[in-house]
Symmetry: C2
Subunit: 405 residues, 2 copies
């Protein structure tokens, strides 16, 4: 197994406000080349500590990737730390200097003297061009290890990585990943249902990840265990059936959008407790105007009556949070908008507004089409954000199931 290690340099990554996310991008990319990340270190702008991090990484990893600390200021120390650890000098690269000078000249600015530092390259290293900034990257192969120094800004890093670093990266044994996304089931429930499959895996790694309103399953196997991967994937499909909404890293709204466009159908939505989130998710997808006609957020009873003609008597009799109101909302928005599908959502997102009969988290989701109106009653765990998201997820899932019938 080829082992990689990521060193993220920058004091801002040690504040409570910034998480390192470059490493997720890099991990995905090296994995695609058969390399596994075994450690990540996040370290401040401190010469000795960066050098120590390189020293530890050289001990245990084959590929070492650092991010950040390549800028022109005295805080940018990654180059110096690497050469300090390796005991080699930094030398001026005239090509890079010219490029940086040209960048400044193009913008009619005199290059600050400090930017000269960015043209300094460890002896024997290959500079990696930065098309989106002044800081070039660095590649050096030494002591049997590959070392990449990349800039911190994701925009600069990703472009450089794809174009200039990846072609140099060694390749490991490839493996295959099979993904399943499952909506509206808990992690432990899914884990339990899958135990007959997962407990017999030999060479395939099984991971289960829980996100809000969904669970993700990953099966990872080396190429020589392809058979096992295919068989276990089939078993997962047999157990979970149409609870699986995607076999890729797609959002629910992407899946629903694809189905709507495929069948050339339109949808309009009437929301109460989700407050526009369902419309927002449906319109996140490019080209959504092809399938999304309109949405209304009818928060008050007056708006439910005026916009959707929900009778006041119906609200009085059953309450605004009730199956009959959800049904009427779905049917009315469908008729008013001349859409193929209408969705109605009403519920209590909390933290206030609940009572014993109708607690916080109670949500009715209705889906109307030409032939039938379905309504589902949910009781989601507390948390306003989560209730809004789960309710929108339930509505999208209801539409997905109807479209795949």
């Amino acid at each position: 197994m080829i082992k990689a290690e990521i060193i993220a340099v920058g004091s801002e990554l040690l504040t409570p406000f910034r998480a390192d996310t470059n490493s997720l991008y890099l991990t995905r990319s090296v994995e695609e080349h058969g390399i596994r990340v075994i450690a990540k270190t996040i370290i401040g702008d401190d010469l000795n500590q960066i050098a120590q991090s390189f020293s530890i990484a050289f001990d245990r990893s084959d590929v070492i990737i650092s991010t950040g600390g390549l800028g022109p200021t005295i805080d940018d120390l990654t180059r110096e730390a690497l050469t300090k650890y390796l005991g080699i000098p930094l030398v001026l690269d005239k090509n890079i200097l010219q490029k940086i000078e040209r960048r400044f000249a193009e913008r009619n600015i005199k290059m600050p003297e400090s930017n000269r530092q960015q043209a300094m390259v460890p002896q024997g290293a290959i500079p990696l061009e930065n098309e989106n900034g002044t800081a070039p990257g660095i590649f050096i192969e030494t002591r049997g290890k590959q070392v990449f120094l990349l800039p911190g800004p994701p925009f600069e890093l990703e472009a450089m990585w794809e174009k200039y670093a990846l072609p140099l990266l060694k390749r490991g044994e490839l493996f295959q990943r099979q993904i399943f996304k499952i909506a509206l089931m808990g992690e432990s429930r899914v884990d339990e249902m899958l135990r007959p499959v997962t407990s017999t895996l030999k060479k395939t790694e099984y991971t289960i990840l829980a996100g809000p309103g969904e669970v993700e399953i990953h099966l990872l196997a080396p190429f020589d265990a392809k058979e096992e991967l295919l068989e276990s994937a089939n078993n997962v499909r047999a157990i979970l059936g149409n609870r699986i909404y995607a076999e890729e890293l797609a959002y629910m709204e992407e899946v629903v959008a694809r189905l709507l466009r495929g069948f050339n159908k339109t949808v309009s939505v009437a929301e109460s407790c989700t407050g526009g989130l369902l419309a927002h998710r449906l319109t996140q997808i490019p080209g959504s105007s092809n399938y999304f006609e309109r949405g209304v957020v009818v928060y008050s009873n007056a708006s439910k009556n005026q916009v959707l003609h929900v009778p006041y008597e119906l609200i009085e009799q059953h309450g605004a949070v009730s199956a009959p109101v959800a049904i009427t909302m779905a049917e009315q928005i469908r008729l008013l908008s001349h859409s193929d599908f209408g969705i109605g959502i009403t519920g209590i997102a909390g933290p206030d507004g609940g009572n014993e009969q109708k607690p916080v988290g109670l949500v009715f989701v209705a889906l109307a089409d030409l032939n039938v109106t379905r309504v589902e009653k949910y009781h989601f765990p507390p948390g306003r954000d989560r209730i809004k998201f789960m309710a929108s997820q339930a509505a999208l899932n209801l539409l997905r199931l109807r479209l795949t019938e």
Copy 2:
């Protein structure tokens, strides 16, 4: 300065799908006690590598906090790694064993033998109670260092940290943080405007963080430099004025919600390109039904006409993405909903639908009240998500400025 270091243990944190977020919570908490985090390590479930991480941390930090790896499975190795490094034995803690047994008994389940492992404690350590799970935490003070082993699940970790770990944590020199949040300005622009203040700081640390549609400024000073902090904060206020929308870590929608409730005003919104995001953000705040009456997402021209009575001639003459249409949307939704404020947004979120005259990113935002209707024209950089967010941010900011006039 008291230095802390965080070691996050768990192979799932080395996949492309999971970032360590516990460390952000812990960093904020230790900072409040005058302790600075100088390094973070993320390491897999590997005994030697976890032990090595402890060894490095003991070398350079005063407080060492690990997260994860305290469960009952053979993958849970944090306890073993620490005792391996320290050369001390693990001993059975009968109190913990009883507690774990009781937890299982309450649920009428026989305790699996593997859970015994969770009752093993490094000699001389103090167990930290876990009220939300079976894995107790560990505290040990040795070689002049404080070591905390905490469970991985955030829910378990945070409750344990607050109640049982924090009272044991050493206290460093306290410092004060002053935060400014600024909407709709770029990082480099704000940075440049503030240079007269930030270039003269002596003991105060200045950090600028860019998020979508906003910039955050942090000034951090030790207590003995309180004067400098107050003075520089006043200078920041003088330079940025009402571009500052909050002096705390609040979202724009929270600030607007507070203003609406304070003045007892209501708002309704008519959205096109933001597709419900503005309504969603306004209804993220508990109690939003006090100030949010309704929203409409009028994606099609037909819906603009039918729901808001935007005349077809107006759309034909100026285009759906135009100032007159935004104005009519704002005024109509205000009248229809009997709200104090009406907001209209129309624009091109892309990636398709733009042309030379009306490129992707063009957005008109209008705000109507009893006395006046204002409209603003924006041209946001590409990216559908970003354009939607920036447009909703611009609308909220317009309302905020009107409410604070």
